[in-house]
Amino acid sequence: MNQKDFQAIYMLWLRQMKRFLRAKSRVLTTIVQPLFFLFILGFGFNIAVFPGMEGSYINFLAPGIIAMAILFSSMFTGVSVLWDKQSGFLQEVLVAPVSRLSIVIGRTLGGATIALFQGILIMIIAIALGVPTVSPASLLLTLVIMVLLSFTAVGFGLIVASKMHDFEGFESVMSLILMPLLFLSSMFYPVNKFLPDWLQVLSYCNPLFYMIDGIRGSFTGVNYVLPPLVDLGIILVLCIVIMGLGTYFFNKSEA
């Protein structure tokens, strides 16, 4: 890593910011879509009673929505390598005399900035809706988990992009991998002893479960399964592994 690499990281980050702010429809979708979930799903299920759940359903749902917004946005950043591949711009990036690692870092930081912006926005709306918080220090932990979630999702997106052959491949990944992960993540319903055993086991095998559990534990402080710091440890390991794999696959890809 030298000065040139840092300048490249900054430039790749800046490019993502410019592109994001210029794509008005994307800005709108990414902000509005989670709000649909929060308001419609939140108020819709608010009348239901889940055994073993504390507080209102919106309080339970909000951490999951934050995680989902970050997950989608960051994955999009990773997968958008494919767009660059198609438009030919990836070649321009790959022949530049900067290390592949700084290209990955630049893209990841760009994606994480956008994702974090969305996550924080939902957080503020949730707090305005009366979702309880634990303490400022705890909120800081939430932010750390959000950043790690974002990094992991970008890494996952990079892996998908390097293995993906076409648009249909992207659809399959969304519906065959992402949807089950979301459904098993404790985002929509609490994972506890009232669930069938197999559903509990599957949930504990889901990396996303620990991310949402961590955000829930540190943000609202209710309905969580593991202590937030334990979640943090698991997430950290996951993040390093996935980012490592993502960098490896990106390194190997040809333009």
Binding site: Q3, K18, R19, G88, E92, V95, D166
Partner: protein, 336 residues
Amino acid sequence: MDIITTENLTKTFDGFTAVDHIKFSVKKGEIFGFLGPNGAGKTTTIKMLTTLLYPSEGSASIAGFDILKQRANVRENIGIVFQEPALDTELTGRENLDFHARMYGLSPEIRKKRIGEVLTLVDLLDKKDVLVKQYSGGMKRRLEIARGLMHSPKVLFLDEPTLGLDAQTRRAIWAYIKQLNKDEDTTIFLTTHYMDEADFLCDHIGIIDHGKIMVMNTVDALKKSVGHDVITLSCNDTATLHKRLEQESWISKITPHDSMLTLGVERGEEKIPVIFDIARTVNVTISSVDVRRPTLDDVFLYYTGRSMRMREQQVREAPNIGMKKPARFRLRWPKK
């Protein structure tokens, strides 16, 4: 000194060999041209030399650095203008150049100065703050060439630099390529399927077809190898006339193509009456005849047995031959 050398450089895609054990070298400071029809393996070669593709076999070195083992050093010493557009269309022209300049670590003063210089050169200064997606095809191409020149590299790769440009812009770009080669001592490696371009720009050319180098030499030497003059004639019975003319020792080479015959001779204008006399003796009627100095087109015909135009037609009819990269990258994302 050789600035580019390759050793058995080979690339295969799913059993199809795009570049087949090629071996060549380019001297420092020259303009070297790879001439060949679409799908001959030109772009694949450039992509391997610029570290964008891994060779299936063999290796190469650029400015003394190995393209497999010292990839970062290679990238520092080269600049590329891609054949296919490689611009970020969501950014403005100036932003694309700025991106490039920073990726190559240019200082802020040089960055500013070069952006102004190259934009003036390609006549895009007044469009610099317009988003690239609003540029026309020719404008995009000009911007890409401007970008390739930004960081004054040791070796500049130009993949079909003037493809799809109007005559006036082509001339301007040719002049700048020459000037850059002379003033900044930049070695230029270009691929083209335009004979006039190779003729005008290149010191040395290599003719490539089906992934193999057919011949490599200076432009003049190649033209001389064809013959002093070239006679092209069409008649009602090429086979008979061909057979008869083969007995004449003053014809250096006869190539049949497109129901025509091309002959390499000395003092062509004096040979036309002789050919007519011979044709009459075998009862063949010549319908048209043309004498000219040899062009690179004749050189290509001489070494491959086909004219460039015919070769490109064949490639279009057999799409596999023209494959430049694996088909899986060829998807298009629907426009929003």
